[in-house]
Amino acid sequence: MPRPKINRKMVTPPKFKGFKPYGYYAEEQAPVSMLFEEYETIRLCDYELLSQSEVAQFMGVSRPTVTRIYESARRKVAIAFSEARSIVIEGGNVFFDSNWFHCKNCKSHFNNPENHKKLICPVCDSKSVLPVNHAQNNLTT
């Protein structure tokens, strides 16, 4: 049995569930499934412009692991681009650095540093608030 994977830390949940191509060749095809940690490495390496060793520190894994995750992420993006397939972000071994919540009313994300038991949205006071980490429990490896 292989050694279990270490959970990777994520800073923010992605603001979307996936991407879809459009245009003449963009027909319905099986989507490319990208893991949460792969999305996060692309974001940290290429958007926040961190070096891979810094990314490794943030995600709590070793530098070579980041390289592997990043490579796999890039290949998935390449497959999606060249075969005109959509990308779905799902699964992976991740946990979030703080407890994030999503307000269904005003669509904002927020955390709960003071651990209030009764959760209401700090912006619009709506009670329809969902924990983002909840989705994580349904993730498969």
């Binding site: 800073v11 923010t12 603001k15 940290l44 926040e48 961190l50 943030f58 650095d97 703080s98 005003c106 669509k107 904002s108 994300h109 927020f110 955390n111 709960n112 540093p113 003071e114 700090p122 912006v123 619009c124 006071d125």
Partner: protein, 105 residues
Amino acid sequence: MIAITSTGNTLLAGIDKYFARCSYFLLFNETDGSHIFIENNCRTAKENAGLLAVDMLLKKGVRKVISGEFGMKVKSVLDEKKIQMILISDINKTINDIITLLKGK
């Protein structure tokens, strides 16, 4: 006290996508509903702009910050200081929209 990152110093300005590099902070007082704009002097800092901005806001008594996005370093600091972070994904909203939401409680 809530800090909102703003692109300008009027109520019609939009929410700034970035926390530390925003042009202005709007400080909204929850108890009496008043607000003031303060210029963000930390935006020109070469590095650690976020940490400088957090220090500045802490001195003003801010407990919640609303922004489009927070940097990596800022997040851990804000977590440590137990300041609530609120991310607004719809950056087309103006400061006025947010204040109306906040006042509508």
